[in-house]
Symmetry: C2
Subunit: 138 residues, 2 copies
DNA sequence: GTATATCGTAAGCGCGCGTAGATTATCTGT
DNA sequence: ACAGATAATCTACGCGCGCTTACGATATAC
């Protein structure tokens, strides 16, 4: 297919998505990284902060600040692992869970709107391909 | 469809593509922005640097450094517009054109490999959808 | 001819980033 | 009991980013 390069297309689309997400997250008092952290904790708590850093892609020393604030606002809990007290188990609080759900819904609505004009088959292929490609971690 | 959010998928894929492009561009002595500039000049010269900045998305004061280096290495030419000597017309030199073509070929090969495992129909839909979405400038 | 606007350029601002080193608490192997 | 590894934290780099201000050269409006 003849098209601009992936990098350009992706960075353009990325900017667009970011621009649309930003006001949603700001309304909830979250930064991008906060949201990534909450999302990573949605299914299950993180056994260590280092692992949470790895799964979110956040630098582990930078993650600390996000957790400090999220904890202060009661969205996240840090408790020492009883089995190894060096580790901090990071988990979502009910309040954090609520904030996350609200943001998630708003963002999904935004995405639906963004993708609305696509040919349905293209859209399905796009989502399948993107999901598959995002798992390509070398 | 049930999938992670667009933002996460895109940023993961973006990182992968960047990681694969980097060594190619480094081998040619280019930074990411240099390559974006050369690509923008491929079809036609830029009538002003401000316009080149706008089309590439680069801040216009930051663009200057890229042009300085590209010009010093003979890949790009800056000449005053005879009709309005405040403007600098930026154009690709033959050498710049060669470097661009070589990088472009390597990057296209990389992309082909990256997309190789996709279902062909998904891949076609992915490329069409991405191209279309990247044109969504609000 | 004088005021106003535009282009390219230089310099400096605060920001977030990844990284590195040191520190403290804790666990593991011997 | 002791040496070495590991987790979280703090501090401090240097980097590139976008943004702002200032300035000289040039063009345009009156």
């Amino acid at each position: 297919m003849d098209r601009p390069e992936l990098g350009f297309l992706l960075s353009r689309l990325m900017r667009e998505v970011m621009a649309r997400e930003k006001p949603i997250l700001e309304a909830a008092g979250l930064e991008m990284w906060d949201y990534a952290v909450l999302t990573a904790l949605a299914d299950s708590a993180a056994p260590t902060q280092a692992q949470l850093a790895a799964t979110t892609g956040r630098d582990k020393t930078r993650l600390i600040g996000n957790l400090d604030r999220l904890e202060a606002e009661g969205m996240v809990a840090r408790r020492p692992d009883p089995a190894d007290r060096r580790n901090r188990i990071v988990s979502l609080t009910p309040a954090g869970s609520r904030v996350l759900r609200r943001c998630r819904e708003a963002i999904e609505a935004m995405e639906t709107e963004l993708l609305a004009d696509l040919d349905p088959a293209d859209r399905a292929g796009f989502e399948r391909a993107l999901t598959s490609l995002a798992e390509t971690d070398r």
